[in-house]
Every structure is written in C-alpha cells, then in structure tokens.
C-alpha cells in the first residue's frame, strides 16, 4: 500500500539537498567554531553563512540577530523568560493569546508563578486575535507581548504588523512564535515590527533538534543557559554544527522556492477542502477561510470522534492528526479548537491535514477516495448520528 503523509507538521523529512549539505560536518569538518585553528574556523565560517541565510529569510538586518537554539521550544522559553528576567525592574505585564503553542502557554504559567501578571487575549471564531483587545491589556508595566504568526492547528494568520505597532507604542518587546509560518509565507521582522521571533528547522525540512531565535539588535534579553558565552552570550554550549548547517541550507531553499510551493500547496488544500465538503455532509472548515496558511487544512466532522478517524485513515496508509482529547496525553481536546468556540464534541471530531513539499494530487485523490466511506462507517456506529444520516 502506498503511504501518504498529511501530518508534516508533526515531523518532516530532511530535504535531500539539506542532508547533502550537512554530511561533511559529521566527518572531515568536525571543528569547534570557538577554536582558533583551521578546523575551528571552517566550522565557524559555515555557521555564520547559515546565520546569514536565516536572517535573509525573515528580513533581519544583521546575521548576528539570529541565535541558534535546540528548537522552537527553547526559542520560546528564551524569548519569554529572557525578556521577563531582563525587564522585571520595568514591569511585570505579559500579554499573549489563548491559542499559543503549549511551549508559550506553559512558560507563561511558570512566569505567573514567579509573580508576573499574564493576560490571555481571546480569539474570534476564525482564530483571529483582535489588535484592539491586545491594546486593552497593555499598560506601562507591560514588558512583552507574545502572539503567534500563524496557528499550526487551524492555519489562521494573525495581524502581526498591527500588534507589533501597539507593542512599540507602549514600549513593550514584541515576540512572535513563527514556527508554522516561516518558509510557508513571507515573514519580515522589519516591516512587521517584530523584536523576537522563534523558528524551527524541521518545519523548513531541516533536521530536528535545532531552531533559532531572532533577537533584534537593540532588544535586551537575559540568557537562560549559561556557560562559554556562545551566540552573543545568549545561548551557551558548543554549537550543533551539522544541524545548523542543515537549517541554513533549508532556509536558503525555502527563500527560493516558497512562492511557487505555497501556490502549489494552496491548490492541493483547496482541492481537499472542496472534495471533503462536497462528499461529506456535516463537515466544516476550522479557522479562517482566507487568512490561512497554504499547507494547513483543519476540518471537523459532526457525530464522530477524531482518533477513530485517525486510526481508520492509518489503516488506509494515510497519516493525519486530530484535535481529539483521545489523541492527547491530557485527555483534553485542543485548547485552540475550544478557544475558537467549538463545543467539546465538535473539537473531538476534528482532523488536521498538514501538507508538505512531497504531497501530490494523487495523495489528495487517495484521501478523497476513502474518507467519505470512513466517516459514514463511524457515523453508522455512533449513537449521536441522526437517523437520516444512518445510511
């Protein structure tokens, strides 16, 4: 059976061109970038080149504004904890949204326990943050506003530039978790008033275990990992050279191919959405109909539960993920689906298709050929299904 992956957000393969760029750095080019000798310097030059490519992808003025980390979770920790610690004399206010990634929400919980005052702004039924409601939470004691660029579960793209303007009007640092957006849609830290921006390598088809935090030159944050003072003192520890080289190459490919790739992926997700909506009654789009990521499609199906859908599709060789509690470790349905106003049972019946570089029209056809039958089968089994749908 041909296997189809529509769960690239959970994990992506390393692009073969990225892998090729990385391999020398496992072997002959093994130097430590902090060493003065030739082995060290060739590694140093290579990571600086990678830094440049990443800076260029997000419109940063200087390559030194890119700090390499172990991944987006660390970047989010560094951005929030680093800003809070550095600015605690100035104030204690933190504003974020209800639909952030768990690595933002849990850091905010931690900072609240340390005495910081965290405010979560709600979103509307499309998952949009209203800049006016952000502004209402802000005072002279606000030190950081952290809003994601685009939501990975429902694809909605936030009005980032506008929120950035509000942050700067009030003298707050503006952090953006852009993991789901970078490499999928154009991101520009200058134009969009961003001070700190988290990004991940694997979402760009680079290796796992590496990421970066963009730190605007004028923005002051404290490190959370101390040691030899690598990465402008903001992230000590010998650099993961092969992974950083891979991330740099991945950023270079994304910058070159993003425009074409986003058109291609948007066409595939549109086809998938149209096919599902046409063939399956009581199926609905989650998230914004137009302000959305080209590679993301979140759909919900009334009367059935998401994990059963995931298992059934898996038996047909198709990998997707679900917003269901039964697929999570906490047994709570997705906080994002709850925040856009879905009832528990609607959140339970949601599926996320996250498309990637290697998906084709054939993959979409394969899903459309089996999903209607799977939904009917599960609906026939469900006590919630109205009688007229039980055929």
């Amino acid at each position: 059976m041909k296997r189809v992956c529509f769960d690239y957000q959970a994990g992506s393969p390393v692009d073969p061109r990225v892998f090729e760029a990385m391999t020398p750095y496992f072997g002959t080019m093994f130097g430590n970038p902090s060493s003065t000798h030739a082995f060290g310097q060739e590694a140093k030059n290579a990571i600086e080149e990678a830094r440049m490519k990443i800076a260029s992808l997000i419109g940063a003025r200087k390559k030194e504004e890119i700090i390499f980390t172990s991944g987006a979770t660390e970047s989010n920790n560094l951005a929030l904890i680093g800003t809070a610690q550095r600015n605690k004399e100035k104030g204690d206010g933190i504003t974020t949204s209800a639909i952030e990634h768990i690595s933002i929400l849990n850091v905010c919980k931690y900072l609240a326990r340390q005495g910081f005052s965290v405010k979560h702004v709600p979103v509307d039924s499309y998952g949009l943050v209203d800049p006016t409601s952000v502004e209402k939470t802000v005072s002279e004691k606000t030190i950081i506003i952290s809003i994601m660029y685009a939501n990975g579960e429902i694809g909605t793209i936030e009005p980032i530039a506008e929120i950035g303007k509000i942050a700067h009007t009030h003298g707050a640092v503006f952090h953006v978790d852009a993991v789901a957006a970078v490499g999928k849609i154009p991101v520009d830290v200058e134009r969009e008033n961003i001070d700190l921006l988290s990004l991940s390598s694997n979402d760009l088809y680079g290796p796992k275990g590496v990421g970066a935090l963009y730190v605007r030159e004028e923005t002051r944050i404290a490190p959370i990992i101390l040691g030899g003072g690598q990465e402008r003192g903001l992230r000590s520890g010998t650099e993961n050279v092969p992974a950083i080289i891979g991330m740099g190459r991945a950023a270079e490919i994304a910058a070159k191919e993003m425009a074409d790739e986003s058109v291609r992926l948007a066409r595939l997700t549109d086809r998938l959405r149209a096919g599902i909506t046409k063939e399956i009654p009581y199926s609905y789009l989650n998230g914004h109909p137009t302000a959305r990521l080209p590679n993301n499609l979140s759909m919900r199906f009334s009367y059935i539960e998401g994990e059963s859908l995931v298992l059934s599709l898996d038996m047909e060789g198709i990998a997707v993920s679900s917003g269901s509690a039964c697929s999570s470790k906490t047994l709570e349905p997705s906080h994002v689906l709850r925040a856009i106003g879905l009832a528990h049972e609607e959140a339970h019946g949601s599926l996320l298709f996250s498309l990637g570089r290697w998906n084709t029209d054939d993959d979409v056809d394969q899903v459309l050929s089996v999903l209607p039958g799977i939904v009917s089968r599960l609906r026939r089994m469900s006590p919630l299904t109205p009688k007229n749908l039980q055929v």
């Binding site: 009367y303 059935i304 539960e305 994990e307 059963s308 298992l311 038996m315 269901s324 509690a325 039964c326 697929s327 470790k329 047994l331 349905p333 009832a343 528990h344 049972e345 339970h348 026939r380 089994m381 469900s382 006590p383 919630l384």
Partner: protein
C-alpha cells in the same frame, strides 16, 4: 499503541447496531468527554439472547464495546453482571494505561442495560 486484538475489534466491530424492541438499554459517558456508548439487550430465559451497541469514541471505546457484547452474549444476567472493565481489557490483550479509565466504559453500559431490564420487569 493498540494491541492486535483492539485493532481487530476496531476494524470489524461485532454486534454494531440497535435493537428497536430491546428489553434493556444502558448508556454511559457523554460526547463532551469524547466517549459515549449505548448497549441494547434482548433477554430470553434469563439469558442475553441478543446484544447490540452504538459507540461514539476512540479506537479503545469501539473495541471495548465490541468485546463486551461478545463476552456477554449467551450468558445469564447474573454471569453478565460479573463481567468487569478488567475482563474486557484483558480479553483485548490490554489497553494503553491512559485509556483504561476513560474509554473502558463498555462493562458499565452492559450492567446498565441489565439493570434497566430488571427495573422494567419489576415494575410490570
């Protein structure tokens, strides 16, 4: 994640459906928590002559429903009342720990159907 037996019962669930003139009906769970099931029984000579179920829920919820109907079919009501959540899980080759509590409600639904039957009979 799931055992072969669970996947077999999820793929080909036994005794799915409703019994319109059921002698006893038991419903447990609710859609809010993600699992809900209804068990229908037909009783003859104090034995479970026929049994069907409908389930909204995850793979484990479907498989435990299917398994409990297999275990109960043909048993006396007293024997069926002794079937536990643990028995259902054991016959399925075990369940992931996180599913033991939330999605292993099928035995409760069966007991509910039998109690419903007894209640109706008593009131006749």
């Amino acid at each position: 994640m799931y055992s072969e037996e669970v996947m077999d019962h999820f793929r080909n669930p036994r005794n799915v459906g409703e019994i319109p003139d059921a002698d006893g009906v038991g419903t447990v769970g609710n859609p809010v928590c993600g699992d809900m099931m209804t068990v229908y029984i037909k009783v003859k000579d104090n034995r479970i002559a026929d049994i069907k179920f409908k389930t909204f829920g995850c793979g484990a919820a479907v498989a435990t429903s299917s398994m409990v109907t297999e275990l109960a079919k043909g048993k006396t009501l007293e024997e069926a009342m002794k079937i536990t959540r643990g028995d259902v899980a054991e016959h399925l080759g075990g369940l992931p720990p996180i599913k033991m509590h939330c999605s292993n409600l099928a035995a409760d639904a069966l007991h509910g159907a039998i109690e419903d039957y007894w209640k109706k009979k008593g009131s006749k």
